[in-house]
């Protein structure tokens, strides 16, 4: 069951690379977060005695990443009027192929070869690592500032899954801190994006080099 | 001297080839007799060779004949085992028909010296026969060089043209570089042991270290790869094949590049034995790269023979995919799938020899009839030369791997091997690699289909584009007659592939120990039966239901009378692909509009689009400039003074004396 959710997570991460439309990307990000929260709930509730830690983490994910962040992003999209396609720095076909390669790397090399000492179920951690790599590549391949923001959140999702996979979740207080962090970070960056749009009439990051003076 | 009856036959075959080489000199240069005496012995010897080859293919014990020691320690001995028998029969089958074909075809070269052509051609074929049958490394190298030299002379047959000379130069430089690597491989293998017979080398190779074995493998791969034309060593192929007369290109593309595959199999599988898995992986990868890149460049060509040359690169890639898969299985010590994969590769090799020589000969027929090979000048030939068109179509269908024909049968076996590699689950890596290789093969298959839809469609269908093709006439009977058996074989092997597969499994059984395969069964006969029956029934039904009235009229051209200028051209057919693979091809487009009076009436458009060869750009050009600049630096030792040169010799002598002691 966890494997299925991990697969959904992976598919969502990969297909974020496959589209130009930013609203679709946000939807996929939501799906990704939803998969995370399902994983957390499943791990929390499937054991003999309920693991409340996991359930809380899952609930927080649901609130922060599935509800608040997408809402903020959608809001931002409407504000800066960015329904159209974002410009890419890597072509779509090649970015899908590179994405597949990254997944292959995570599954075929990093986890079984580099991390073979870590005694965890392979699938979750591979999916998590692949998620991080894909998020990072997503940031590289998109030029819009909002996409950078989405990429950061996607990477964070991967890190979160990593934490869940390796230790069964970090201590609750740290987890809370991270959630708060990502929420505030995302809000600040959203604000920045809005400002960028105000200044340059676009959020295409290739115009940012005008700031160099 | 000749112990057996086979020995006598071998001797007779060689004698007939030599007669074919020498006889034409006795007649007046271009009399009828010189054509006959040049070509007919070639085909007679071809038949004898074919019989010998088949005998070798099906006999359990190798047979042969010795010519005595030609060099100290080097016994020139022909020994035909199953592998040699297979290659011998392939070579002789193709050259038999090509020799027949040449009889009429060479008449368009009436003004050239036919006697020399016959000499080179027969010696060329004879050297190929020797290459695949001798059992000694030194003799192999000698005949390998002879084969290269004679084929060079054949390529530069029309030496008056600058392009031909250039092509010949590239060819000879590349293949000689390849030979250096082959010599290196043999030297490593025999190092310190002495003896050059294959058996001796095989015994010695057991004591080689793993690193030495890998070096031998790499050197052999590069050396034979140059001759076979794998990417990136294929530069000579698209130059040399179009430069040579079509019948020679048929032999070169159909069988000569296969001798390189023979060398690879002999050296790597027979003599060297199993190696690490990466050998197979490397061969498989090179095969995939050659197949895909070869066919993409083939698709861009307007010259029929260049198109066919690039398609040879692609088919060598497919053959290597079979061999690579087999090497992978071999190193994982799974002899049975290894045998099947190798047999699949050899089967494709044989099929390629057949349909590629058929296509080259048919292209030669087009050239004979129209004096051009440029597709943009052809068109409408299906009406002018219907039988040649049918033969070309059969070749095109076979090479595009359509069911019922032999290309499909062998690619099917390669697909099966790739499925086996991924379903055996030796490791996740190989499972995925198998599927990816199958995808590459599928991609190649569709691109080949596109390529030959273009080749056949543009040159044979629709309206003639120039006067040349409008005035074409069907070629003489002997030319058609020598192509027909090839076409029949295409169909026959497509319907009964198990015949070929099972005898090839016998060949492979000799190479790979412990691979007793009971035989493969195929469904091709049933499929062919059902498909043909369905087509016939549908045709009959269509007749029985009564034919509605058929009106024949010109194609609707939106109010204007259609002419050849409105047809789709070869360049426009491949335009979507050019755009799709622009990263690889880097098309350079130039469009100029010239209007005479008003911008909308009576204007001329000049359009030009070239594709770049990325390999040439990024690999060969830097290499060449590096070589030239290095040579310039070393030029200072060439003083031109004879005393200096004597001094060099003297110094070398002293150094050697001191060093060797």
């Amino acid at each position: 069951m966890v494997d299925l959710f991990a697969l959904i997570f992976l598919v969502a991460s990969l297909f974020m690379l496959a589209g130009r439309s930013i609203t679709n990307t946000i939807t996929l990000l939501t799906v990704q977060a939803l998969a995370l929260c399902l994983i957390a709930f499943y791990l929390g509730l499937s054991t003999q005695e309920t693991n409340w830690h996991m359930v809380i983490v899952g609930g927080l994910t649901l609130v922060v990443k599935v509800i608040i962040l997408p809402w903020v992003f959608y809001k931002l999209v409407y504000k800066v009027n960015l329904h159209r396609e974002v410009s890419l720095s890597v072509g779509l076909v090649s970015s899908i192929l590179i994405g597949l390669l990254l997944i292959g790397l995570a599954y075929g090399y990093i986890v079984p070869v580099l991390l073979k000492d870590i005694p965890v179920g392979g699938h979750l951690i591979s999916a998590a690592l692949a998620g991080i790599l894909l998020g990072c590549f997503f940031m590289i391949s998109r030029r819009s500032a909002l996409s950078q923001l989405i990429g950061v959140v996607a990477m964070e999702n991967g890190l979160f899954l990593c934490g869940v996979a390796v230790t069964g979740g970090m201590p609750l207080i740290i987890e809370l801190g991270i959630f708060f962090d990502i929420l505030v970070g995302a809000l600040v960056m959203a604000l920045m994006t809005y400002q960028i749009n105000d200044t340059f009439e676009t959020i295409d990051t290739k115009f940012l080099n005008k700031l160099k003076g | 001297m000749f112990a057996s009856i086979q020995g006598n036959i071998i001797f007779i075959m060689i004698a007939i080839y030599l007669i074919g080489a020498v006889m034409p000199f006795l007649f007046k240069v271009n009399s009828k007799m010189s054509f006959i005496t040049g070509c007919i012995p070639g085909s007679i010897a071809g038949v004898i060779g074919l019989v010998l080859g088949l005998a070798g293919l099906f006999s359990t014990d190798p047979f042969g004949v010795s010519f005595g020691h030609v060099l100290p320690g080097v016994e020139l001995m022909i020994q035909i085992d199953r592998l040699s028998g297979f290659f011998l029969s392939t070579i002789c089958l193709v050259t038999f028909l090509v020799s027949l074909y040449s009889w009429e075809y060479m008449k368009i070269y009436r003004q050239e010296n036919i006697a020399w052509w016959s000499f080179y051609y027969n010696i060329f074929v004879l050297s190929m026969v020797f290459v695949v049958t001798v059992n000694n490394a030194i003799a192999f190298l000698i005949f390998w060089e002879l084969m290269t030299l004679t084929s060079y002379l054949l390529v530069t047959f029309e030496y008056r043209s600058q392009n031909v000379r250039k092509a010949g130069f590239v060819y000879i430089v590349m293949t000689h570089l390849g030979t250096v690597f082959i010599i290196g491989a043999f030297l490593i293998m025999s190092n310190g042991f002495g003896g050059w017979g294959y058996e001796v080398l095989a015994r010695n190779s057991i004591s080689l270290t793993a690193t030495e074995k890998s070096w031998v493998f790499l050197l052999a791969l590069i050396g034979f790869g140059t001759k076979a034309g794998i990417v990136p060593l294929n530069v000579w192929l698209p130059l040399a094949h179009p430069a040579a007369p079509s019948n020679v290109s048929a032999v070169m593309s159909g069988v000569m590049i296969k001798t390189a595959i023979y060398g690879m199999i002999r050296l790597i599988i027979d003599i060297l034995g199993p190696g690490p898995t990466w050998w197979g992986g490397l061969v498989l990868t090179l095969g995939i790269i050659s197949a895909v890149i070869g066919v993409i460049y083939a698709l861009m060509e307007q010259d029929l023979k260049r198109l066919l040359a690039f398609s040879s690169v692609e088919n060598i890639g497919i053959i290597l995919m079979g061999i690579g898969t087999s090497l992978v299985f071999y190193s994982l010590s799974m002899p049975v799938p290894a045998a099947i994969a190798l047999a699949a590769g050899l089967f494709h090799l044989f099929n390629h020899a057949i349909f590629k020589s058929l296509l080259f000969l048919a292209t030669g027929a087009i050239y004979y009839a129209t004096h051009t090979r440029n597709m943009e000048e052809l068109g409408g030939l299906i009406k002018k030369m219907p039988q040649t068109a049918l033969l070309f179509l059969i070749g095109a269908i076979s090479i595009s791997a359509m069911p019922l024909f032999n290309g499909f049968a062998s690619e099917y076996q390669i697909y099966q091997s790739l499925v086996t590699i991924s379903s055996l689950r030796v490791s996740g890596f190989w499972s995925i690699a198998g599927i990816l290789a199958a995808v590459a093969l599928a991609l190649t298959g569709t691109l080949v289909a596109a390529c030959f839809v273009k080749a056949f469609g543009i040159s044979f269908l629709a309206l003639p584009r120039t006067q040349k093709s409008a005035a074409a006439r069907e070629v003489p009977l002997s030319m058609r007659f020598s192509m027909a058996p090839l076409a029949a074989l295409c169909l026959g092997l497509g319907i009964f592939p198990q015949v070929a597969m099972n005898s090839l499994l016998g060949v492979v059984g000799q190479l790979v120990p412990g691979s007793r395969v009971s035989g493969v069964t195929t469904y091709n006969f049933n499929l062919a039966l059902l498909l043909l029956a369905t087509i016939l029934v549908l045709l009959a039904l269509s007749r029985l239901l009564g034919t509605p009235r058929v009106r024949k009229t010109a194609t609707w051209g939106c109010g204007i009378e259609t002419d050849a200028a409105m047809e789709y051209s070869a360049a426009s057919f491949s335009q979507p692909f050019r755009r799709l693979y622009r990263g690889l091809l880097q098309p350079q487009r130039k469009v100029e509009t010239k209007s005479s009076l008003l911008p909308y009436f009576g204007y001329q458009i000049y359009f030009e689009e070239h594709v770049k060869s990325v390999l040439k750009e990024f690999l060969y050009r830097p290499l060449r400039s590096l070589t030239i600049s290095m040579s310039k630096k070393w030029r200072c030792i060439q003083s031109g003074n004879i005393n200096f040169y004597l001094g060099y010799v003297f110094i070398t002598l002293i150094v050697l004396l001191v060093w060797v002691r």
Binding site: L4, L7, L14, A18, L92, I96, L100, I103, G104, G122 | G380, I382, S400, A401, M402, P403, F408, Y415, Q416, V419, S423, G428, I432, G434, I435, V439, A440, L441, A442, L443, G445, T446, A449, A450, V453, G457, L461, Y523, N526, L527, T534, I535, L538, L545, T547, P548, V550, R551, K552, T553, A554, T555, W556, T562, E567, Y568, F573, Q575, P576, F577
Partner: protein
């Protein structure tokens, strides 16, 4: 032998009879989805019968190839269709998945040749584009089919029945659905309803055909569509092999109609893509299939 022949004949007649109806269902449901009344479900039958009886107009520039192509197309789709078992699960020994894929390729090969024959620019354009699209589609199809074949360990069609019934199979299914959309010339790839010169691909190739031959080609296209849908059902949603013949046939008809509805919905929801955006669509399909492969082998 006779038994097998009867089975094949049965499959042929099922395909011939059902294919136009499925096309009618797709057309009707598309019309309803777009708030039109649409043609009758039986319209494709009427069309084909009409075409088969019409006078034929043939270009003078053509040869026997043009005459033969419709028959070859129809025959190869029918034979391809008879390889997929509908109610029996005995091995007929006439082919497997690879043969099926290549039979499709053969029909396409001849169609593309015949399109070049009348010397019209539209035919050439259709033929060139069709070959380009097929070079994008076929790799995806092979990766999808081969990943299933490799899990089942055989390329035999009976052997891979239901091989896609697992989470990874879902991904393969989506990939293959994209392939079906492309192969049947449906909307994101090609528009089956348009006769606008600059957008048509499949229709462009048929442009110079008329009368009986165009009827045969339309019928062939419908059969191809049904065969592909049946293939999907066979791989991902097979029925009980022991069911009686009529139950199996009814079930398969219901499933094919359902998939036809899905196709109609997809078609209504999407816009046609530009030709040179197609690599992106196909890369998406490829991504689905390869993900399935990765997740089967690396876990």
């Amino acid at each position: 032998m006779t038994g097998k022949l009867l089975i094949i004949l049965g499959q042929f007649s099922f395909l011939l009879l059902v294919a136009p109806l499925i096309n009618g269902i797709i057309k009707k449901s598309k019309a309803l989805l777009q708030c039109r009344r649409g043609p009758s479900l039986l319209q494709p039958y009427f069309d084909i019968i009409k075409f088969l009886r019409r006078e034929s107009v043939v270009s003078v520039h053509t040869s026997w190839l043009t005459q033969l192509t419709p028959i070859i197309c129809l025959a190869s789709y029918l034979v391809a269709g008879s390889m997929i078992p509908l109610w029996q699960h005995e091995n007929l020994g006439i082919g497997d998945m690879i043969a099926l894929t290549y039979l499709f390729a053969m029909a396409r090969f001849f169609l593309a040749l015949a399109a070049l024959e009348p010397a019209s620019a539209f035919g050439g354009m259709g033929s060139s584009r069709e070959m380009m699209i097929s070079s994008l589609v076929e790799p995806v199809m092979v990766v999808g089919l081969f990943s299933l074949a490799a899990t089942a360990g055989t390329t035999d069609i009976n052997g891979i029945m239901g091989a896609g019934q697992n989470p990874a199979g879902l991904l393969t299914f989506i990939g293959l659905l994209i392939v079906v959309l492309a192969e049947t010339g449906r909307i994101p790839v090609d528009n089956p309803d348009t006769h606008l010169e600059l957008t048509m691909v499949h229709e462009g190739m048929l442009l110079e055909y008329a009368g009986r031959q165009v009827g045969l080609l339309h019928l062939a296209a419908m059969i191809k569509q049904v065969v592909l849908l049946i293939l999907l059902i066979h791989l991902f949603w097979p029925q009980n092999p022991n069911a009686p013949v009529y139950v199996a046939l009814v079930l398969i008809f219901a499933k094919v109609s359902f998939l036809g509805l899905v196709l109609a919905m997809i078609e209504s929801a999407l816009a046609k893509m530009r030709l040179f955006k197609l690599p992106e669509l196909m890369a998406g399909g490829m991504a689905f299939c390869l993900l399935a492969v990765l997740s089967t082998y690396l876990i």
